[in-house]
Amino acid sequence: MAGKSGRTIQSVQKNSLKSTLLSWEGALAILFIALNIFNSIISPSYTVTNVLREMPKYLCEIFMLFPMAYILILGDIDISVGSIVCLSATMGCFVCNTGLPVGLSFLTCLAVGTLCGLLNGIILTTFTELPAMIVTLGTQIIFRGIAEITLGSGGSVSLKNTAGYNAIAGKVGIVPIVFFLVIIAAVIFTVILAKTTFGRKLYAIGSNRTAAHYAGINVQKCRLIVYTIMGLMAGLCGMFLTSALFGANTTTGQNFEMDVIAMAVFGGIATTGGKGNLIGGIISAFIIVLLRIALGQINLNSQLILVIIGALLIIAVLIPGISSSFKAKQKMKAVE
């Protein structure tokens, strides 16, 4: 089945060692190892204990990478997730501060996130002609606006009872609990994308939405499901972020959407849809996080760190483009 710009979906995946190493994911894995060596050379503080302790805040973001990858593979985008994080964290804090059991506060985070995601999904699937970028830009402003109204004049709420949130911010040995949850979520989302019909449907829709529709795939149902899951995971992110910040404020989750999209794109997931896989996304997420931690440890100017990550991102999207046009030229020559 040929999609737009000549992409094909293979019915059988090739798994030879050579192709694995030459793939984008293989290159990322090598980069990951090289980065760790580089990091431990430049920073004397780059130890397993320190890195794991610095990681939870970034791990919260990785929760959102998985559904974001699905959305990008669909050829859509969701830039409202940072605001969903803010709104769900805010609501969770308020519920917790009323004295209700902390479990209810967790549920609130997840429910608010899911509802926000569902709303995005309903708007996008009811009015299919609307661009996802603009709709989620609108909801981004709306969700953060609601959070700011709820937060009131101080712009910040803090947990009165931190016991429950302390529990989820806890550690097993030196490994934070959230790390295990990220790994579990990573496995579930990767398997669904790679091994189930639902996963294959997402690729089909992203490759050619019209063709997928005529092939009998319920495109809008898939989009609705994925956007709702996105909301749920943003709520989960909000819940764990609350445990790290002991509260929420108007800047909670700011720019998270861009961080998450950057991780996905660096992992080889194309924003045009139909291309990429989660293994690449997950490796690249850890590459970005570890790079930020190490550069932070050597006290590099924080703006310079952003510049470096931005430059890496551009290189990451340039390389596949160049290599494919190179291959195309080779083919042309062979024909001549």
């Binding site: 800047t251 100017n301 046009s325």
Partner: protein
Amino acid sequence: MKKKIITVMLAVAMTASLLAGCGSSSSTSTATADTAVAATSAAATEATSEATAAATSAGAAAATEATGGMDATGKTFAIVVKSAGNPYNEKEIEGFKAVIEAAGGTCISKEPEAATADAQVSVIQSLISQGVNSISIAANDENALQSALQDAMNAGIKVSCFDSKVNADSRQTFVNQAGTQEIGQALMDAVLDISGGSGQFAILSATSQATNQNAWIDAMKSLMESDSKYANLELVEVAYGDDEPQKSTDQTQALLTNYPDLKVICAPTTVGISAAAKVLQDQKSTVKLTGLGLPSEMAEYIGDDDAHSCPYMFLWNPIELGDLAAYTAIALVNGGITGATGEKFTAGDMGDYTLTDAGDNGSEIILGPPFEFNADNIADWKDVY
């Protein structure tokens, strides 16, 4: 195709140069750490203060004496400000760094990537990894840093805040730039001085709920009641410009219309004072202005003659705030203070300070009376912040 290759090469070259940059900066920081370690070990083996003095440079030793025996040799002090590219924050860092380095310590200054609590959490975690001795922070949120700062304190790091505080559970002490009483006193005395001892004055504040402004205005009111030298002054109105330039302008106009005998307007807010200054100066009004303002915004209105609307105004000096934050950090690390209310310490040539109750179950150190900006010094300060 060629263009693309050139682009990639350029990008690679840029990244490479960036990486080279961080390589060199890391090596210098290790070098300072090494010398610091060498200095400490020398001190340990010789066990005399002379040995430490000899290990560090003569200049540093002299400075150590000048700072009233505050020795920070071999210790690392971190300062975390609110955001990058903020001249006010840069002045705080400048003051902090000068004191720490004069005392023989190593200073790490950190500007978070965004002016958010999230970004400051990452910075704090990174500093814990580096094993610094002390963190001094100007917080972007009062409560959100609690978890990270408690991690730091559990790791044995001394935590103090300055400029903008964190809650009492997240800190050992707070270096407060603006004691409510000191600000109220300075503003009342300015009104008394400018009005010539008697007459009507008005206050142009921010919003009616603004915590800081209300505390200062209350302090002014209680001073008027308690001290008879203010008896001939009459506070006619507290107007609220909501910290919006247009509304502050309108409120100033209304004050001028409603009170023809008005002598002085006192605006304890940077937005209010600059709006009022413009109105008064444009209308060549005889009403004079004082309050709290930013030198950069107020430079063209400050002067002793009738052509200028504001004879003098106040704000704290960010360099001195940085200095005091540094002395506080050193005292905490050396065990001179623990952060309990009532403790005393000597902040080098700045004199003696006492830790007082901050009213939130924590302690604070008040920098002192606010700094006066007048016709003589405004030229030096207008480019600063």
